[in-house]
Assembly symmetry: C2
Homo-oligomer: 488 residues x 2
């Protein structure tokens, strides 16, 4: 029988881990907090990367690659930045091993100590702005619109596959502009790209907004975020785009001559999404039978399972259908394994979240029909063989849309607007969800709410209407509601 | 005027660096031995990656991702392997920084020392085979055909952009097999893919063969290589595929049950190519005016340069041609810059190795012709406007082929077959090149030749005919000639 997974209601955290491991997405490695991304999980990342990369290039960005190591002194140059990252740095101190003089194995060669320690990049603003200094002399050299696909290391104390790992994969954009307004426009452009990608490709609705000061990126003047609701009612920050002002230009002395021949500091943005998105994907759509994937990110969109026997004859039909689907740009797998039974296979593909499954047996061929099952609703339909391809093409779009609508519905049912701290607390301590509430704009109140409930301000939503009110704790005036939730 | 570069005859090494820097491919970073790969250089790497990735996937390989860190103890498990890599390891010893108690900046927090040091991967056999132990129980779990695109760190003492850098990008395949023969077949399959890619995509002829024992990968039973001749007559090892036998399976205790229910160790291969290929590309085709790129790897295949004025009117024609070319799958750039003069732009695109340049001026439009220039031979042709697209399509293929033929011709003219050490030395110490000579098969003679001339055995060529002879140093018998050269 199929591998069993813990149900969401029984133990949500274990359900998440079960899906990660049993769908074959990732596993823990021998290195603390680092994961092995297995082929099926990596194939999802490749699809995410492909979709985003195309969007970045269409909007004029180019890819480049900067060193993985950052000299320790660079980190200190921007005060907030070092404060934000110093506590979680992997530090390279030596460049050679030697045979252990006192036994077997190797030891660090004490003579190979580096003059200055190197940090494995926790983010690349510092090394990149140190490089931009040489690239930028005049307004003619601007804008610089660069993105990097890279691995990142942050020494996290508590880790969970995809959601928080010591090493993760991401993209980080780093742009340089002559004008403040241009940099802000860029920050918002990327914010829009992230939101559009989340909603149309991941089928994951997001709330767009700005972070409060205390939740901003270390070194940013403004951080724009997309926040998604997971099935336990918690928020997951799925992507951030930062307006860095002139902070890094000042720290690394990156000046340019304007059109009017005046020297000025360069304006900056940075932005990123990571393999964390795979965690978001899992927790937005999956169910107690395993992974559910939106068709646009599914490594296998359709699996064809011949129901023995006669296996060889069925295979001929299976391949005909597969070829017709592939001709329509759909990724198809035919399960050619003759050892396992169909029931086992069905459960396996449910676990792996393959959006559409086609069963094909001897009787089906006689009757000229195929059984087509969708993963999201588990519905099965008998479809005439000649209509099968068109049916699947439409069905994949339907599944994509259904997943989005279902997630929107879930979010709607778990979003509240409250005016008193008592109501706020009841929701946050109870079944959880997104809570819109008034806030007086001070870090003190924000901190107090966090202490009392563990909920944080996820964002000041772009779309929040002006609505005067009073802060639920301090009673001070507030101009609009902000979004609170517990978060990953 | 155009940026000047040193000629090959004046200073070959400087010529190489001039091209790397002035064509905007890469530059040195603030971190010793690490380069910044600039957008134009990275775009070439993306094309290389795309072509190879497709070939790997077509032959059944999947991508995955393993941790960047390797516990120090893992490295020691395979004796030859640690011997090969211990001296060039970046070692992470701490996981936190703290404010400097004695002044400004940050220092390593002595309380955050790791129990076991972590090595930044110099290659991933050890961490991967430690993982495979859990994946492989029976012959049914085999083969495992996995590839990884990743960054690698080897602490090199003397570095040169692309050719030898502390950090570089590469792909590393790691496969596991039930049978020795299967693993050998895999090793050779990849060897063939590398050679085919080099010749048909990079337009770079290569000699295929096996490494002598002393030149093998640390831990391999056999290393197959592709060796290309650079324009200074030196050899560049462009890709290697290793048959690892059961060495890593034994070191990491990776056993499986065969079909006959017998426990056996798993057979392994590993194989890789890196950003070094960009160095090979530069030194195979470029000339004293800059980079020359084979069309199949050129980020911009055609550049259209309007010759002012009237700029706006020319632009209409330029865009029409560009659209027609793009419809044929060709990457095109229209130079819309109005500040620089055509002569300057022509030199700039020559420097960047854009294969085809189309000039378009007011008189051309009157006459209904376009001037089409090819980068490789510098020839210009006047082509009727209605024939321009077909002409370019054919021309790109011609350039690709011409670069290959030219490189083949160059190699032929610089390849020798010698029988005496005196002749050998005259060539190697003189103008250099590939030398086929007899070798008695011993490491001693090999080492002696290396000491005396700095030439090494590049490979025992696959295609070397059986031809009995005598070693030029020892006078001992030899069955066939092997390939000697100085190498990068």
């Amino acid at each position: 029988m199929a591998k069993e997974i813990t149900s969401r209601s029984e133990n949500y955290s274990q359900w998440y881990l079960d899906i990660v491991y049993k769908a074959g997405l990732a596993e823990n490695s021998a290195v603390r907090g680092c994961m092995v991304i297995k082929p099926y999980g990596y194939a999802i990342w490749e699809k995410i990367r492909e979709e985003l990369d195309r969007r970045f290039k269409e909007t004029g960005h180019q890819n480049a690659y900067f060193p993985i190591f950052i000299p320790k002194s660079f980190l200190s140059k921007e005060a907030d930045h070092v404060e934000g990252f110093a506590k979680e740095c992997a530090v390279v101190t030596h460049h050679r091993l030697m045979n252990n003089p006192n036994g077997p194995g190797v030891v660090v060669d004490p003579d190979a100590k580096l003059e200055e320690e190197l940090i494995v990049r926790p983010t690349s603003e510092t090394i990149i702005w140190n490089t931009y200094r040489d690239w930028i002399k005049s307004y003619r050299d601007l804008p610089i619109l660069i993105n990097q696909w890279a691995n990142i290391v942050r020494w996290e104390m508590r880790t969970r596959p995809f959601l928080r790992t010591t090493e993760f994969l991401w993209q980080e954009g780093h742009t340089a502009h002559a004008l403040k307004e241009e940099a802000i426009t860029e920050t918002k452009l990327i914010h829009d790209i992230y939101a559009d990608f989340a909603e149309t490709v991941m089928a994951m609705p997001v709330i767009k907004g700005a972070k409060s000061e205390s939740e901003r990126f270390a070194g940013a003047l403004d951080t724009y975020t997309i926040e998604a609701m997971m099935q336990d009612g918690k928020a997951l920050q799925a992507g951030t785009s930062h307006f860095l002002g002139q902070n890094f230009a000042k720290a690394f002395e990156v000046k340019f001559l304007t059109e009017n021949n005046i020297e000025d500091f360069v304006w900056a943005t940075s932005w990123g999404v990571s393999t964390r998105l795979i965690g978001a994907l899992i927790m937005t759509h999956s169910d107690d039978d395993g992974l559910v994937l939106p068709p646009k990110l599914a490594p296998i969109q359709v699996v064809i399972v011949p129901i023995p026997k006669p296996f060889d004859e069925l295979m001929v039909h299976a391949e005909k259908i597969a070829d017709a689907l592939k001709a329509r740009g759909i990724s198809v797998k035919i399960d050619k394994d003759e050892k396992n039974r169909p029931g086992f296979k069905f459960a396996e593909y449910e676990m792996k979240g393959v959006p559409v499954r086609i069963g094909i047996g001897a009787r089906d061929i006689e009757n000229g029909v195929l059984e087509i099952a969708r993963r999201d609703t588990k519905e099965k339909t008998s479809v005439k063989m000649e209509n099968a391809v068109d049916h699947v093409v439409v069905l994949l779009d339907e599944i994509q849309e259904n997943l989005y609508q279902k997630a929107i519905e879930f979010r709607k049912n778990n979003t509240y607007s409250v005016d008193t701290f008592e109501d706020f607390r009841n929701i946050i301590d109870g079944k959880g969800g997104f809570v819109y509430a008034h806030w007086d704009g001070t870090a003190e109140t924000e901190e107090k709410i966090k202490e009392l409930t563990k909920a944080t301000i996820r964002c000041i939503p772009n779309e929040a209407a002006d609505e005067p009110g009073t802060d639920m704790i301090s009673g001070k005036p507030s101009e609009r509601r902000v979004l609170f939730a517990k978060a990953y």
